[in-house]
Symmetry: C2
Subunit: 148 residues, 2 copies
Amino acid sequence: MTLTRQEQAPDLIGEEPEGCDRGPGLRPLPEGRDRYTISEVSAHTGLSVHTLRWYERIGLMPHIDRSHTGQRRYSDKDVSWLALVNKLRLTGMAVADMVRYADLVRQGEHTYAERRALLVATRQSVLDRIEELRSTLAVLDYKIDLYS
Amino acid sequence: MTLTRQEQAPDLIGEEPEGCDRGPGLRPLPEGRDRYTISEVSAHTGLSVHTLRWYERIGLMPHIDRSHTGQRRYSDKDVSWLALVNKLRLTGMAVADMVRYADLVRQGEHTYAERRALLVATRQSVLDRIEELRSTLAVLDYKIDLYS
DNA sequence: GGCTTGCATGGAGCGCACTCCAGGGTTTTA
DNA sequence: TAAAACCCTGGAGTGCGCTCCATGCAAGCC
Protein backbone atom coordinates (compact mmCIF):
# COMPACT_ATOMS: atom_id res chain seq x y z
CA MET A 1 0.00 0.00 0.00
CA THR A 2 2.09 2.86 -1.21
CA LEU A 3 0.88 6.32 -0.56
CA THR A 4 0.82 8.79 -3.38
CA ARG A 5 1.17 12.31 -2.18
CA GLN A 6 -0.70 14.20 -4.85
CA GLU A 7 -4.10 13.63 -3.27
CA GLN A 8 -7.35 15.47 -2.94
CA ALA A 9 -8.30 18.87 -1.68
CA PRO A 10 -6.88 20.15 1.59
CA ASP A 11 -10.15 19.38 3.32
CA LEU A 12 -8.95 18.75 6.80
CA ILE A 13 -12.30 18.99 8.47
CA GLY A 14 -14.20 16.47 6.46
CA GLU A 15 -11.11 14.35 6.68
CA GLU A 16 -9.33 11.74 4.75
CA PRO A 17 -6.73 11.34 2.10
CA GLU A 18 -6.60 7.82 0.83
CA GLY A 19 -9.41 7.88 -1.68
CA CYS A 20 -9.71 4.23 -2.52
CA ASP A 21 -7.90 1.71 -0.45
CA ARG A 22 -10.39 -1.11 -0.62
CA GLY A 23 -8.44 -4.12 0.53
CA PRO A 24 -8.37 -7.42 -1.28
CA GLY A 25 -11.81 -8.84 -1.80
CA LEU A 26 -13.61 -5.61 -1.09
CA ARG A 27 -16.02 -4.32 -3.66
CA PRO A 28 -15.62 -0.92 -5.29
CA LEU A 29 -18.42 1.55 -4.83
CA PRO A 30 -20.96 2.29 -7.59
CA GLU A 31 -18.94 5.17 -8.94
CA GLY A 32 -19.83 8.77 -8.17
CA ARG A 33 -23.29 8.26 -6.76
CA ASP A 34 -22.57 9.77 -3.41
CA ARG A 35 -25.63 8.20 -1.77
CA TYR A 36 -24.63 4.66 -0.91
CA THR A 37 -26.72 2.21 1.05
CA ILE A 38 -25.41 0.59 4.15
CA SER A 39 -24.85 -2.73 2.43
CA GLU A 40 -22.87 -1.10 -0.35
CA VAL A 41 -20.68 0.59 2.20
CA SER A 42 -20.36 -2.65 4.10
CA ALA A 43 -19.18 -4.50 0.99
CA HIS A 44 -16.77 -1.70 0.20
CA THR A 45 -15.23 -1.24 3.62
CA GLY A 46 -15.36 -4.79 4.89
CA LEU A 47 -17.18 -3.63 8.00
CA SER A 48 -20.44 -5.42 8.78
CA VAL A 49 -23.69 -3.48 8.64
CA HIS A 50 -23.97 -4.12 12.37
CA THR A 51 -20.63 -2.50 12.91
CA LEU A 52 -21.51 0.46 10.72
CA ARG A 53 -24.66 1.11 12.73
CA TRP A 54 -22.77 0.58 15.95
CA TYR A 55 -20.07 3.08 14.92
CA GLU A 56 -22.82 5.59 14.44
CA ARG A 57 -24.38 4.92 17.83
CA ILE A 58 -21.13 5.37 19.69
CA GLY A 59 -20.35 8.65 17.96
CA LEU A 60 -17.60 7.49 15.67
CA MET A 61 -19.41 8.75 12.57
CA PRO A 62 -20.55 12.20 11.55
CA HIS A 63 -24.28 12.57 10.94
CA ILE A 64 -25.27 10.25 8.12
CA ASP A 65 -27.87 11.44 5.67
CA ARG A 66 -31.17 9.54 5.35
CA SER A 67 -33.51 8.73 2.48
CA HIS A 68 -37.10 9.93 2.65
CA THR A 69 -37.99 6.62 4.32
CA GLY A 70 -35.26 6.84 6.90
CA GLN A 71 -32.63 4.61 5.34
CA ARG A 72 -29.01 5.62 5.61
CA ARG A 73 -27.38 7.17 2.57
CA TYR A 74 -23.62 7.40 2.93
CA SER A 75 -21.71 10.10 1.08
CA ASP A 76 -18.24 9.79 -0.41
CA LYS A 77 -16.97 11.76 2.52
CA ASP A 78 -18.52 9.30 4.95
CA VAL A 79 -16.87 6.45 3.08
CA SER A 80 -13.51 8.23 3.17
CA TRP A 81 -13.87 8.72 6.87
CA LEU A 82 -14.50 5.01 7.26
CA ALA A 83 -11.34 4.32 5.30
CA LEU A 84 -9.41 6.37 7.83
CA VAL A 85 -11.15 4.65 10.71
CA ASN A 86 -10.18 1.32 9.21
CA LYS A 87 -6.57 2.40 9.05
CA LEU A 88 -6.59 3.61 12.61
CA ARG A 89 -8.15 0.33 13.62
CA LEU A 90 -5.21 -1.47 12.05
CA THR A 91 -2.85 0.55 14.19
CA GLY A 92 -4.52 -0.96 17.22
CA MET A 93 -5.95 2.35 18.34
CA ALA A 94 -8.81 1.83 20.78
CA VAL A 95 -12.29 2.63 19.51
CA ALA A 96 -12.71 5.08 22.36
CA ASP A 97 -9.70 7.01 21.09
CA MET A 98 -11.11 7.07 17.60
CA VAL A 99 -14.31 8.48 19.03
CA ARG A 100 -12.23 11.10 20.75
CA TYR A 101 -10.63 11.94 17.43
CA ALA A 102 -14.04 12.12 15.75
CA ASP A 103 -15.14 14.52 18.48
CA LEU A 104 -12.19 16.75 17.77
CA VAL A 105 -13.01 16.78 14.09
CA ARG A 106 -16.57 17.77 14.91
CA GLN A 107 -15.35 20.60 17.09
CA GLY A 108 -13.59 22.29 14.21
CA GLU A 109 -10.31 23.85 13.32
CA HIS A 110 -9.19 24.90 16.75
CA THR A 111 -8.53 21.27 17.60
CA TYR A 112 -5.83 20.76 14.97
CA ALA A 113 -3.08 20.66 17.56
CA GLU A 114 -4.79 18.10 19.69
CA ARG A 115 -5.65 15.93 16.70
CA ARG A 116 -2.09 16.05 15.57
CA ALA A 117 -0.89 15.07 19.03
CA LEU A 118 -3.22 12.12 19.02
CA LEU A 119 -1.90 10.93 15.69
CA VAL A 120 1.68 11.46 16.76
CA ALA A 121 1.08 9.37 19.87
CA THR A 122 -0.50 6.68 17.75
CA ARG A 123 2.43 6.78 15.40
CA GLN A 124 4.81 6.23 18.29
CA SER A 125 2.81 3.31 19.58
CA VAL A 126 2.91 1.76 16.13
CA LEU A 127 6.68 2.13 16.06
CA ASP A 128 6.92 0.58 19.51
CA ARG A 129 4.70 -2.28 18.48
CA ILE A 130 6.80 -2.94 15.40
CA GLU A 131 9.87 -3.13 17.59
CA GLU A 132 8.12 -5.50 19.94
CA LEU A 133 7.14 -7.74 17.04
CA ARG A 134 10.70 -7.69 15.75
CA SER A 135 11.92 -8.91 19.10
CA THR A 136 9.50 -11.81 19.01
CA LEU A 137 10.76 -12.73 15.57
CA ALA A 138 14.17 -13.34 17.03
CA VAL A 139 12.77 -15.81 19.54
CA LEU A 140 10.55 -17.44 16.96
CA ASP A 141 13.48 -17.92 14.60
CA TYR A 142 15.54 -19.39 17.38
CA LYS A 143 12.85 -21.90 18.30
CA ILE A 144 12.08 -22.81 14.71
CA ASP A 145 15.76 -23.41 14.24
CA LEU A 146 15.80 -25.85 17.12
CA TYR A 147 12.97 -27.81 15.57
CA SER A 148 14.80 -28.33 12.28
CA MET B 1 16.52 -7.93 23.37
CA THR B 2 19.38 -9.66 21.68
CA LEU B 3 19.41 -13.38 21.59
CA THR B 4 22.60 -15.20 22.45
CA ARG B 5 22.85 -18.53 20.75
CA GLN B 6 25.01 -20.45 23.20
CA GLU B 7 22.16 -21.37 25.48
CA GLN B 8 21.19 -24.22 27.66
CA ALA B 9 20.88 -27.91 27.06
CA PRO B 10 19.09 -29.16 23.95
CA ASP B 11 16.04 -29.85 26.07
CA LEU B 12 13.28 -29.40 23.56
CA ILE B 13 10.62 -31.07 25.59
CA GLY B 14 10.87 -28.99 28.71
CA GLU B 15 11.11 -26.02 26.38
CA GLU B 16 12.58 -22.62 26.28
CA PRO B 17 15.76 -20.89 25.46
CA GLU B 18 15.72 -17.34 26.69
CA GLY B 19 16.91 -17.83 30.22
CA CYS B 20 16.21 -14.43 31.66
CA ASP B 21 14.28 -11.93 29.69
CA ARG B 22 12.58 -10.12 32.50
CA GLY B 23 11.37 -6.93 30.94
CA PRO B 24 11.86 -3.49 32.38
CA GLY B 25 10.55 -3.15 35.89
CA LEU B 26 10.30 -6.88 36.45
CA ARG B 27 12.05 -8.38 39.42
CA PRO B 28 14.72 -11.04 39.04
CA LEU B 29 14.08 -14.35 40.72
CA PRO B 30 15.76 -15.32 44.01
CA GLU B 31 18.64 -17.04 42.27
CA GLY B 32 18.77 -20.80 41.89
CA ARG B 33 16.11 -21.78 44.35
CA ASP B 34 13.95 -23.60 41.84
CA ARG B 35 10.89 -23.54 44.10
CA TYR B 36 9.36 -20.12 43.63
CA THR B 37 6.07 -18.95 45.08
CA ILE B 38 3.36 -17.63 42.85
CA SER B 39 3.98 -14.03 43.87
CA GLU B 40 7.66 -14.31 43.10
CA VAL B 41 6.85 -15.63 39.66
CA SER B 42 4.25 -12.92 39.22
CA ALA B 43 6.77 -10.21 40.04
CA HIS B 44 9.30 -11.78 37.71
CA THR B 45 7.05 -12.36 34.72
CA GLY B 46 4.73 -9.41 35.03
CA LEU B 47 1.73 -11.72 34.93
CA SER B 48 -0.74 -11.35 37.76
CA VAL B 49 -1.18 -14.21 40.21
CA HIS B 50 -4.72 -14.49 38.92
CA THR B 51 -3.44 -14.94 35.41
CA LEU B 52 -0.89 -17.51 36.51
CA ARG B 53 -3.58 -19.61 38.17
CA TRP B 54 -5.84 -19.12 35.19
CA TYR B 55 -3.13 -20.27 32.78
CA GLU B 56 -2.91 -23.44 34.81
CA ARG B 57 -6.64 -24.04 34.75
CA ILE B 58 -6.89 -23.74 30.99
CA GLY B 59 -4.01 -26.11 30.38
CA LEU B 60 -1.38 -23.63 29.35
CA MET B 61 1.03 -24.77 32.05
CA PRO B 62 2.64 -28.12 32.73
CA HIS B 63 1.87 -29.62 36.12
CA ILE B 64 3.17 -27.26 38.76
CA ASP B 65 4.72 -28.74 41.85
CA ARG B 66 3.11 -28.08 45.23
CA SER B 67 4.43 -27.61 48.75
CA HIS B 68 3.30 -30.06 51.44
CA THR B 69 0.42 -27.70 52.19
CA GLY B 70 -0.69 -27.35 48.63
CA GLN B 71 0.92 -24.07 47.63
CA ARG B 72 2.41 -23.79 44.17
CA ARG B 73 6.17 -24.04 43.82
CA TYR B 74 7.35 -23.04 40.37
CA SER B 75 10.55 -24.49 38.98
CA ASP B 76 13.06 -22.72 36.76
CA LYS B 77 11.63 -24.69 33.88
CA ASP B 78 8.15 -23.44 34.64
CA VAL B 79 9.44 -19.90 34.69
CA SER B 80 11.21 -20.40 31.37
CA TRP B 81 8.03 -21.74 29.88
CA LEU B 82 6.25 -18.60 31.07
CA ALA B 83 8.89 -16.48 29.39
CA LEU B 84 8.12 -18.22 26.12
CA VAL B 85 4.40 -17.81 26.69
CA ASN B 86 4.96 -14.13 27.26
CA LYS B 87 6.82 -13.84 24.00
CA LEU B 88 4.12 -15.69 22.10
CA ARG B 89 1.58 -13.40 23.72
CA LEU B 90 3.45 -10.42 22.31
CA THR B 91 3.15 -11.91 18.86
CA GLY B 92 -0.60 -11.71 19.23
CA MET B 93 -1.01 -15.47 19.22
CA ALA B 94 -4.35 -16.46 20.71
CA VAL B 95 -4.30 -18.13 24.10
CA ALA B 96 -6.13 -21.10 22.61
CA ASP B 97 -3.25 -21.60 20.18
CA MET B 98 -0.74 -21.42 22.97
CA VAL B 99 -2.73 -24.09 24.77
CA ARG B 100 -2.54 -26.16 21.61
CA TYR B 101 1.21 -25.69 21.57
CA ALA B 102 1.43 -26.68 25.23
CA ASP B 103 -0.54 -29.83 24.41
CA LEU B 104 1.91 -30.71 21.69
CA VAL B 105 4.80 -30.27 24.08
CA ARG B 106 3.08 -32.57 26.56
CA GLN B 107 2.58 -35.20 23.89
CA GLY B 108 6.29 -35.59 23.33
CA GLU B 109 8.85 -35.74 20.58
CA HIS B 110 6.62 -36.99 17.80
CA THR B 111 4.93 -33.59 17.64
CA TYR B 112 8.06 -31.69 16.65
CA ALA B 113 6.85 -31.16 13.10
CA GLU B 114 3.51 -29.81 14.17
CA ARG B 115 5.06 -27.53 16.76
CA ARG B 116 7.42 -26.20 14.18
CA ALA B 117 4.57 -25.58 11.76
CA LEU B 118 2.70 -23.67 14.43
CA LEU B 119 5.69 -21.46 15.10
CA VAL B 120 6.30 -20.92 11.41
CA ALA B 121 2.70 -19.86 10.93
CA THR B 122 3.03 -17.50 13.86
CA ARG B 123 6.21 -16.10 12.40
CA GLN B 124 4.44 -15.39 9.14
CA SER B 125 1.57 -13.67 10.89
CA VAL B 126 4.07 -11.50 12.73
CA LEU B 127 5.67 -10.53 9.44
CA ASP B 128 2.26 -9.75 7.97
CA ARG B 129 1.35 -7.67 10.98
CA ILE B 130 4.57 -5.70 10.72
CA GLU B 131 3.78 -4.96 7.11
CA GLU B 132 0.29 -3.89 8.04
CA LEU B 133 1.65 -1.56 10.69
CA ARG B 134 4.14 -0.13 8.22
CA SER B 135 1.30 0.69 5.88
CA THR B 136 -0.55 2.54 8.62
CA LEU B 137 2.59 4.52 9.33
CA ALA B 138 2.42 5.91 5.82
CA VAL B 139 -1.12 7.14 6.37
CA LEU B 140 -0.31 8.47 9.81
CA ASP B 141 2.66 10.39 8.48
CA TYR B 142 0.56 11.82 5.70
CA LYS B 143 -2.11 13.02 8.10
CA ILE B 144 0.36 14.38 10.61
CA ASP B 145 1.98 16.26 7.80
CA LEU B 146 -1.33 17.88 6.90
CA TYR B 147 -1.74 19.07 10.46
CA SER B 148 1.61 20.86 10.51
C1' DG C 1 -51.50 -9.53 -3.47
C1' DG C 2 -48.07 -12.30 -1.71
C1' DC C 3 -43.15 -13.21 -1.36
C1' DT C 4 -38.52 -11.99 -0.86
C1' DT C 5 -35.07 -8.84 0.17
C1' DG C 6 -33.25 -4.90 2.47
C1' DC C 7 -33.26 -1.64 6.05
C1' DA C 8 -34.75 0.22 10.68
C1' DT C 9 -34.54 0.11 16.06
C1' DG C 10 -33.30 -1.01 21.02
C1' DG C 11 -31.37 -4.19 23.52
C1' DA C 12 -29.36 -8.75 24.51
C1' DG C 13 -25.51 -11.89 23.75
C1' DC C 14 -20.81 -13.39 22.70
C1' DG C 15 -15.72 -14.50 22.73
C1' DC C 16 -11.61 -13.24 24.52
C1' DA C 17 -8.37 -12.51 28.12
C1' DC C 18 -8.26 -11.62 32.03
C1' DT C 19 -9.72 -9.91 37.02
C1' DC C 20 -11.94 -10.16 41.22
C1' DC C 21 -14.62 -12.17 45.13
C1' DA C 22 -15.96 -15.00 49.13
C1' DG C 23 -14.53 -17.90 52.32
C1' DG C 24 -11.06 -20.39 54.09
C1' DG C 25 -6.09 -22.29 55.36
C1' DT C 26 -0.76 -21.12 55.92
C1' DT C 27 3.44 -18.57 56.63
C1' DT C 28 6.06 -14.76 58.12
C1' DT C 29 7.08 -11.07 61.11
C1' DA C 30 7.24 -8.35 65.26
C1' DT D 1 1.61 -15.96 69.80
C1' DA D 2 -1.01 -12.74 67.53
C1' DA D 3 -1.38 -9.86 63.63
C1' DA D 4 -0.33 -9.22 58.95
C1' DA D 5 0.69 -11.07 54.71
C1' DC D 6 0.24 -14.73 51.61
C1' DC D 7 -1.94 -18.65 49.36
C1' DC D 8 -5.88 -21.83 48.11
C1' DT D 9 -10.49 -22.85 45.31
C1' DG D 10 -14.66 -22.37 42.35
C1' DG D 11 -17.16 -19.28 40.30
C1' DA D 12 -18.77 -14.65 39.10
C1' DG D 13 -17.67 -10.22 36.94
C1' DT D 14 -15.37 -6.91 33.58
C1' DG D 15 -14.14 -4.35 29.34
C1' DC D 16 -13.69 -4.48 24.63
C1' DG D 17 -15.38 -4.85 20.04
C1' DC D 18 -18.35 -6.47 17.93
C1' DT D 19 -22.65 -9.65 16.58
C1' DC D 20 -27.21 -11.13 16.76
C1' DC D 21 -32.25 -10.96 17.82
C1' DA D 22 -37.11 -9.67 17.58
C1' DT D 23 -40.03 -6.93 15.47
C1' DG D 24 -41.59 -3.99 12.00
C1' DC D 25 -41.64 -0.93 7.70
C1' DA D 26 -40.59 -0.34 2.55
C1' DA D 27 -39.49 -1.57 -2.17
C1' DG D 28 -39.08 -4.80 -6.10
C1' DC D 29 -40.71 -8.88 -8.53
C1' DC D 30 -44.11 -12.62 -10.49
